[in-house]
Amino acid sequence: MSRRILQKAESTPASGKNSPRRWWMSSGTAAAVMAALLVVAAGTVFGVERFPPPDFTSGYTFPTTTAPSPREGWLQVLDVVVLFLSLALSAYLVLVKRLRKYIFAQAVFSIFYFGFYRKGCVCSVGSVQDVTLAMFNNGYAVPWTVLAFFLLPLVFAVFFGRVFCASVCPLGVLQDVVLVKPIPLPLWLEKALGLIPFMFLGAGVLLAATGSIFLFCEYDPFISLYRRSGSYNMLMLGLIFLLAGVIIGRPYCRFLCPYGALLNIISRFSWRKVTLTPQDCVHCQLCDVACPFGAIAEPAGIPSEPVLRKRRRWLVAAIALVPILVIAGGWLGAQISGPMSRLNAKVALAWQLASEDTGRALVATEASQAFRNSGRPVKELYAEAARIRSQFKLGGWLWGGFVGLAAGLQLVGLARIKHRDVFEPDPATCVACGRCYTHCPNEIIRLKREQRARAIPLKLVKN
């Protein structure tokens, strides 16, 4: 069989070895095999089930259920140290060494350490909520390790760009590893979907600030894969993202990750960022072809005068639209704050009790029955729920305004007249994976020059 495979691999061009049809067949086969394996791997997770204990009549008493003890102090320190070192190493590999293979190797390490060993928790994505809750709730003290996980990647982003995404974030690198045959997405789709992370970020912050739920953790698609345990819906969500990730580069990072939204903003102003060789750019576009995330910005060319005029008009309109979108977004956020407030446990319980009292609910829940049996006055609960709802209303205004601002600035960015004349990575969307380095011909020449310089030391020749 192996000889037959070799003969197939070495067939002449006339036999269509490199034909598009063959490309699609091989890609399709790879993707289909991957899909089948991922689905079945997920099935194994159903093995981790809970079932009720047997009914003993021999007088056996169950041991008291205890919660697992917290992670040892020194291990928590170790986690932060590993995170710091990983970020530092990632920055070095991305900006100095500039070799994809080392970045990939570190990514694999992150999958095992932050993913399988630490089971995806604490992670920087979820830490946003802890910090938010601590800011708005005096009774919640955020652990310093969580604070470190929140701050360190942001601090590194200020200096070095999205090096966290490059090879440290366990969610991102898992998608990077399964990326086999990326297909480029049209610009309009990227920009449209690019608004969702900002919506998600705002929603998660609002829900955390009101002490409701940790939205990012509840909807972390890969946590169930790392823990090999989880609800069916979350498992399927993770699989869908991974399957999509086979042909779409990092779909979660680009179109959902709320921490990525923060890094997107900060990286635009970072001190150092991923660059190619701007003075030597020959417009071969190999970097753009290589980048699976659509993060390479193309040179703009010189548009015609009518197009320039149209663009200026769009720019003025977009700038004028920003405050309108902020206000409209805020108002819409306030409208949705009512239904959203039901995600808060107290509001949900008050809502259930009120539904029963007004006949809208036909069946009592265990929670409402337990509350009634507790004897607590229901008016207290109603008052508390009303207070939380007013917080949601204010938060809804802020959330909606934020989303409106993001949409408005997105429109301004798309209307801006660009003066780029080389291919360069967009610091906001570039996840510093290093694929462009290995494809840029001038980058390759530069690297070889450096290697030769190290191998053959230059000596000053004196006449």
Binding site: S2, A9, L37, V307, Q335, A407
Partner: protein
């Protein structure tokens, strides 16, 4: 720069491609084998699942019935242990297998990557060659971003508009100074000792579908036209604290309703002139937990109360019956316990002189649970109880008629329509004509008793014993309702199905006169006001039809809310209960 021709270049694969292909095959076969084994093991493990093993569940059910059976308990423990051992072994194999599969996938993925890798070839920048294309792409992107924002806005508006918050209702209630009509202890009402006269009964609307359960209004000075938006002919509209499908009843200047939720049952009294809620009283204990086997669609309090002008009587599906005076003082209370009725008790109350009639049809018809109770209106004690009725659970309301020189209590069940003496509960005659689930109530008009169920039956009420073969005047088979009771003006009988089809028969001959599909869903029974048939749809559309041998619609009006209850009529007033409010329509200045 000329575009490269991929087919001309033979070396665009990765240098590791040949090895990668071999590794991919090996890893792929390995992973496929692991998948197969895991699937096979999973399928095999299902028969050892201790949570839903049929034999174990069956044994446990037996143990519930025989809790002292030691041998059975030992068998359960032994089987449970065996299943757990097998299942835990499966979980261990699963854990090992999934790790092996994972590592196989870790080898397969990079192998696939290198096997499918193709050298990237340069191509000219599209925007450099076509600068105006950038504007076209940006333009599409701008509209796409606007589209996403618009979509999000639409979703926010939709969710916000659909959001009904009962919290607002209860918070508003607790903030209102008049929120608690229960606060002032009412003084006892003076109750006449004598029962109401026929005239008093005829002038009021004392039970479900009015006097005799006919659905015919004694008053014709009613407005058949109103406008909820402008308030034209809307005298008042008052919020009802708890919702329910039971109908309003009226006595003089009082309108009574009941409402219930999963945990609370209440009786309400409204003032006819102003619509003000005069009092609301709780029946039973509010924290009583509802039965666990209720479905989400179950309606509470479908049974309409009754009043004889002295007291108001209310029956709930929890088996509770209570009587209040007109000032809201509870006079007596009794409890039958949970009733064996699959859809919940729904038969409304009626009364005969000083006897309150409670039809409690339950069970399967052979267990003797179905009975009619004649209860003393003053004390709540039994005056008489019928023999066990040979009928299963039913939901129709009995009626009192005067026919063949005597008062008769007509009660419907499957398969018997039975006539009793309302004074002592003794059976007079019975006809075996009914079938299926008995929900529409009988009506008496033109000297015949009409009962629509499976077929429309017209029965002569002057028999004795089993009159199945002798006293059926006629029967019809079209337009048979499943919920709404029929109505008759003495010349015609109208049936209304829950899908909104009206079928009109001649009361004397049974000839079908017309059939009309209103294309409206209806739960409320139709009524007759003068020479107009009134139909209320579930969505709150009221259709007025001229009563005649042909269908002729006069007009329509809207309630603005869902309606399941049948209307009540008083002098110049129509009362309709919506999902949230009680409406009073009548001529006003608008």
């Amino acid at each position: 720069m000329a575009a490269p021709n991929p087919s001309a270049d033979a070396n665009i694969g990765h240098p590791w491609k040949p090895v990668a292909i071999r590794v991919a095959w090996v890893a792929g076969i390995y992973c496929a084998l692991m998948v197969g084994l895991l699937l096979f093991d999973y399928a095999r493990s299902q028969k050892y699942n201790p949570t839903n093993h049929p034999e174990l569940l069956a044994l446990k059910e037996k143990l519930v019935k025989k809790p002292n059976d030691a041998a059975l308990a030992a068998k359960i423990r032994s089987l449970d242990l065996e299943l757990r051992v097998h299942y835990l072994q499966y979980l261990r194999r699963l854990s090992q297998g999934s790790w092996m599969l994972f590592f196989g996938a870790m080898v397969l993925m990079p192998a696939l990557h290198f096997a499918t890798w193709r050298k990237k070839l340069p191509r000219p920048g599209k925007y450099v060659l076509q600068p105006d294309l950038a504007e076209a792409d940006d333009n599409k992107a701008r509209w796409a971003v606007a589209g996403v924002f618009a979509l999000a806005a639409g979703a926010a508006l939709y969710l916000g508009s659909r959001f009904e918050n009962p919290l607002d209702v209860v918070l508003a209630r607790s903030a209102s100074p008049q929120a608690s009509p229960q606060q002032a202890p009412p003084s006892p009402a003076v109750i006449p000792a004598n029962p109401p006269s026929a005239g008093e009964i005829a002038r009021n609307w004392p039970r479900f579908r009015g006097p005799g359960g006919s659905g015919v209004s004694a008053y014709t000075n009613l407005t058949l036209n109103w406008n909820i938006q402008t308030g034209e002919n809307v005298i008042w509209k008052t919020e009802v604290p708890l919702t329910g499908p039971s109908s309003p009843i009226v006595w003089n200047d009082r309108v009574f309703l009941i409402g219930a939720s999963a945990v609370k049952r209440e009786v309400y009294c409204f003032d006819v002139p102003s619509g003000k809620l005069l009092w609301q009283k709780t029946v039973g204990t509010p924290s009583t937990a509802p039965p666990k086997d209720e479905g989400e669609e179950k309606q509470h309090s479908p049974s309409t109360p009754a009043t004889d002008g002295r007291r108001v009587y209310a029956m709930f599906d929890t088996g509770e019956l209570a009587a209040f005076d007109f000032n809201g003082n509870q006079l007596w209370y009794r409890q039958w316990g949970k009733l064996d009725n699959p859809y919940g008790h729904a038969a409304s109350l009626d009364f005969y002189k000083n006897i309150l009639l409670v039809q409690l049809d339950q069970g399967d018809g052979e267990d003797g649970k179905s009975k009619i109770y004649g209860v003393d209106t003053a004390t709540g004690k039994d005056v008489w109880v019928t023999e066990p009725r040979p009928v299963p659970a039913s939901w129709a309301t009995p009626i009192i008629i005067q026919a063949a020189g005597k008062d008769q209590l007509i009660a419907s069940g499957n398969p018997w329509m039975i006539s009793y003496n309302p004074a002592d509960g003794k059976e007079i005659w019975r006809a075996k004509i009914l079938n299926g689930e008995i929900t529409p109530s009988p009506v008496f008009a033109a000297g015949l008793i009409f009962n629509a169920n499976d077929r429309l039956w017209a029965v002569k009420p002057d028999g004795q014993g089993d009159v199945t073969k002798t006293h059926v005047a006629w029967s019809g088979e079209d337009g048979i309702p499943d919920i709404c009771s029929p109505v008759s003006d003495g010349k015609r009988v109208w049936l209304l199905t829950s899908s909104g089809t009206i079928t009109c028969y001649s009361a004397g001959t049974g000839k079908k006169l017309y059939e009309k599909d209103l294309e409206l869903e209806c739960k409320a029974s139709p009524s007759v006001v003068g020479d107009t048939l009134m139909v209320v749809s579930e969505k709150g559309t009221v259709v007025f039809v001229k009563s005649g041998d042909q269908y002729q619609e006069i007009g329509r009006a809207e309630i603005g809310e869902h309606v399941m209850a049948s209307p009540a009529f008083a002098d110049g007033r129509i009362f309709i209960r919506g999902k949230k409010h009680l409406f009073c329509f009548g001529r006003n200045k608008g």
